[in-house]
Symmetry: C2
Subunit: 210 residues, 2 copies
């Protein structure tokens, strides 16, 4: 049960404490659906049920709240996807495939807005929102860096050829993932997205050829 | 020179006629930068320089103006990209590569907001804006259909194997293009995008293998 009902019950009994995680989850959904620009502090106050001064005290402003929301998203979703990659017993090919399959399910499970939060909000962003853009790009780059580090590690271990440009492969894989996010946002099903992953994985031998 | 200065010069001399294309070009830039939701009719009036009653008379409402803007975008940019594809003398591989190179330049030329207008505004859209979403998806589907028709035609002519699932290839190519648009929006240069196209085209033989 939400502890954010304090605004409704104000004055009755001991004030309930502000539930930061619950507020962040609600703010995440709102930003995810409407983007950074189209979401106002008034919308965020209404959705979280928190008092406006509480939100300002906790996050300073909309940018601060957005930053906290991004971190929460990275902790819960992005790390879960990265775990699918980093299982020592798996081949590089299996690790990449599992990462994509986990992501596909995550983007299309219908339990939250479709697609990747970082990619969706980044695409929705005006050129003018440069601070927020920088924050998003840093997180986004982290995803590509995860893929790069995984491939590089497998290269060091000798599983992938020493002459392979792993940066270029990671960049390409990140691009396909971004395309998948756009398609999920537009209503592609888990099955649709898995068909794209089938096509991608059929190219694996060519992809890792130096 | 813009003919939209009527609001400034009103009452002096003969009223200038409303320049529909000029207003659409300015509205296109605004929607492209900020998305459908974050752009208000007041913003559009200010950017186009037209009078609000003129915009309402011409386009009825924001959705109507957005529809006209999409059509103008499709006429000027999407058709230009499709022409790169449909040159009878080219191989299928060359046609696809030229289509991607033209698109990459178009997404990153710095003369207009980066990325594809349709993909950018679609990603920025709330789940609630269903009419606008339908309009965007129809245009978006048209791009994938262009790729599909091209591949199907080359299949009928015997250049591509009869057993190849051209729908699946078109779907995959459209996904990569969507990813490229996201990256362009995030600041990727023409060179960055061309590196991704290099990786894609190296996989061409595997991609068209049935």
């Amino acid at each position: 049960m939400s502890t954010c009902s304090e605004t409704i019950k104000k004055g009755r009994g001991r004030p309930k404490t502000f539930d930061r995680d619950d507020a962040l989850d609600k703010a995440l959904l709102l930003f995810w659906q409407h983007g950074f620009e189209a979401t106002s502090m008034a919308d965020l106050v209404a959705a979280t049920g928190a008092k406006a001064p509480t939100l300002y005290a906790e996050f300073e402003n909309k940018e601060g709240l957005f930053r906290a929301v991004m971190d929460r998203y990275m902790d819960s979703f992005a790390e879960q996807r990265a775990r699918a990659l980093n299982c020592p017993g798996k081949s590089a090919q299996q690790g990449i495939e599992d990462f994509f399959r986990t992501t596909a399910t995550c983007f299309t499970d219908g339990k939250k807005p479709s697609g990747c939060f970082i990619i969706c909000t980044s695409s929705a962003l005006a050129a003018s929102s440069s601070d927020v853009a920088r924050m998003l790009h840093a997180r986004h780059h982290a995803m590509e860096a995860t893929l790069h580090d995984f491939l590089h590690q497998r290269q060091v271990q000798g599983e992938l050829a020493a002459a392979l440009d792993v940066s270029q492969v990671a960049e390409y894989l990140a691009c396909v993932l971004q395309g998948i996010s756009v398609r999920a946002r537009e209503g592609a099903s888990t099955e649709d997205v898995n068909r794209i992953i089938d096509t991608l994985m059929r190219q694996w031998p060519t992809l890792i050829q130096p």
